[in-house]
């Protein structure tokens, strides 16, 4: 696995906060625009298609899992 999922930030809370604050005051539409730009910038910075694909896979798996849990809770 080329994708690093160990914690890479010295202060993860600061990183999370930075993203949260970037979205503050934005409409959903603007937030979505910001997200795609961020994805493209970061993907290029990583510059490794295998890592990108693994990241996409992980993100999608989390999404399905989350959807699953939600469904179970609703039942």
């Amino acid at each position: 696995m080329a994708l690093s999922t160990s914690s890479n930030f010295a202060s993860p809370d600061d990183a999370f906060r930075a993203v949260v604050e970037a979205h503050r005051g934005l409409s959903d539409e603007q937030s979505a625009d910001l997200d795609v730009a961020l994805v493209l910038i970061l993907a290029n910075h990583i510059g490794d298609l295998d890592v990108l694909r693994e990241a996409i896979e992980l993100a999608k798996r989390r999404m399905t899992d989350a959807g699953h849990q939600q469904q179970q809770q609703q039942q």
Binding site: A32, D33, V36, A37, L40, I41, N44
Partner: protein, 536 residues
């Protein structure tokens, strides 16, 4: 407006006098006298084959259609003896510019280096290309070109096929060892053999207009995303000979083709783009496109080539050029099989090499089309972000996809002999040869592509001298470079081929690299030659 550029006469052929059960037999019948069928017939005839070429029409030149012909296609046409006419008439270009809104995002140069005989591209109306090819066909008695001969049926036998052909004088039958179907995107032979033609259809419509005007735009490919004159959509401007300009405008997917095509509706759009009304229409066409290919390119005795076998969107000039690459790939193989110097299985390598090239062309042109016409809100959002990032970043510019222009495929093929030596450059086995200046001496070839033609357009050894004689097998063309031999070795050639003294490349008759050696031996060359000939 839609003038027919050239008219040809139907002539009755003695084959038509024969009774149905006694049909004339020919080694090759090529169906479709478009750029692909004509080029294939010429290549086969130059190799010594007799070719019957059938076409259901009696004229060429309904609109300019394909206009961009690649360096690779020009090098093929040089081998067919028509390259000079094409290039003399065509407009040469290598620079493309991409605009977003009113301003330029970036520009690219498709051939930034010197030392090639041919440019990256020429633009030339398809009807000129076809007319020059027909002129060349007339010089070759081995080609029997029959206009208004429409194939209406085919029967496949074990070792030949029988064609039913309809003419103004009524039907007749023809037997052919091989039939090559170059009959275009709506191929009737494809339907006759019952082959599928699956792929992706795009909803967006595009308007093509060829307009006549005198303008000072440079000879470059200009592509706009969301231009001020055509808000929210894309546009393309390209120069052709005779003061004709190709304009391509993306329309909404719900536009009514019959209404949009009317000159009075097209005129205001073009006037907005050009900022004036001093132009006349040559040709207007509205189209939707599809990216698809046949599952198998060979059905019994019928071999498919060009648009009949695969279709792409026009962005990237991958239609006609890939069809011409099919023709150059097939001609030498079919010739060897007919002469009995290679087994029939050699033809399978045509299917392998050209179907993977078709996949590559479909992938590239689908990506361009998806970028130009995003199919969801999120795709549109991604594109918007790329276009915005392209203003200040290099990576954004490189993600903007206004068409990736045709380059020859590199084949993963059983005909290649894998490298055993260490190479740090040069075309690898399966890649097409690179041109370079070769000699300055009087009367000799100036470029490698010319030397290849002089060596006979056959299996050819490109040998870089080290003082020792090359122990090449008999019957092989040889191009010697450097030393005291018949050509000089300018720096560029050696660099482009990562050559050291004694290095040698084995080139196939279509100019692709079959094998390369740092220290060639006769046995090594013979083994590679056998492999590339389908003998193993």
């Amino acid at each position: 407006m839609q003038q027919s550029k050239t008219q040809f006469g139907y002539r009755r052929h003695p084959d038509q006098e024969r009774a149905g059960g006694n049909a004339a037999e020919h080694p090759v019948v090529v169906v479709g006298a478009g750029p692909v069928g004509l080029s294939l017939a010429i290549d086969l005839a130059q190799r010594g084959q007799r070719v019957v070429l059938l076409d259901d029409a009696d004229r060429i030149g309904e609109g300019s259609r394909a206009i961009c012909f690649s360096k690779r296609s020009l090098e093929f046409w040089d081998r067919l003896g028509v390259g000079d006419r094409m290039v003399d008439k065509g407009v040469v270009w290598s620079v493309g510019k991409i605009f977003h809104g009113a301003s330029q995002l970036y520009q690219f140069n498709l051939l930034p280096e010197q030392g090639h005989k041919r440019p990256a591209f020429i633009n030339l109306q398809q009807f000129y290309a076809e007319a020059y090819l027909v002129d060349r066909v007339r010089e070759l008695p081995a080609i029997d070109l029959r206009w208004r001969n429409k194939v209406t049926g085919i029967e496949q036998r074990n070792d030949h096929a029988v064609l039913n052909v309809e003419t103004p004088d009524g039907p007749y039958r023809l037997r052919a060892k091989y039939v090559v179907a170059c009959d275009g995107a709506r191929s009737s032979l494809r339907q006759m053999v019952g082959a599928d033609f699956a792929g992706q259809a795009f909803e967006d419509q595009f308007l093509i207009a060829d307009v006549r005007m005198t303008a000072e735009f440079p000879t470059e490919r200009w592509f706009w995303f969301d231009p001020p004159f055509h808000a929210g959509r894309s546009a393309l401007l390209h120069r052709q000979p005779d003061d004709i300009w190709r304009i391509d405008l993306q329309l909404n997917r719900y536009a009514d083709p019959t209404v949009e095509k009317l000159p009075e509706n097209v005129r205001p759009r073009i006037a907005r783009m050009l900022g004036h009304e001093q132009f006349e229409f040559e040709w207007i066409s509205l189209y939707k496109f599809q990216c698809r290919r046949m599952d198998k390119f060979i059905h019994g005795r019928v071999i498919f080539a060009g648009d009949a076998a695969h279709q792409v969107s026009p962005f990237g000039a991958r239609g006609a050029n890939s069809g011409l690459e099919d023709a150059e790939n097939l001609a030498w193989k079919l010739d060897r099989v007919l002469k009995g110097t290679s087994p029939e299985q050699l033809l399978e390598s045509y299917a392998i090499e050209r179907s993977s090239a078709a996949d590559e062309n479909i992938r590239e042109s689908t990506r361009s089309t998806d970028f130009m016409a995003p199919s969801s809100h999120q795709e549109a959002r991604l594109r918007k972000a790329v276009l915005a990032l392209a203003r200040d970043t290099d990576f954004g510019k490189r993600m903007v996809n206004g068409g990736r222009l045709s380059v020859p495929s590199v084949y993963e093929t059983p005909l290649s002999t894998a490298d055993v030596d260490d190479w740090h450059g040069g075309p690898r086995p399966g890649a097409s040869m690179l041109d370079a200046p070769i000699a300055a001496r009087e009367g000799s070839a100036a470029f490698l592509t010319e030397a290849f033609i002089r060596a006979g357009m056959q299996f050819t050894l490109l040998a870089f001298a080290n003082g020792a004689a090359v122990d090449a097998p008999e019957g092989l063309g040889v191009i010697r470079v450097g030393g005291n031999d018949d050509s000089d070795s300018p720096e560029l050639l050696g660099v482009r081929y990562d050559a050291s003294p004694g290095s040698a490349y084995l080139l196939r008759p279509d100019g692709y690299v079959a094998a390369r050696f740092r220290h060639p031996t006769r046995a090594g060359i013979e083994a590679a030659l056998a492999r590339a000939s389908g003998i193993n």
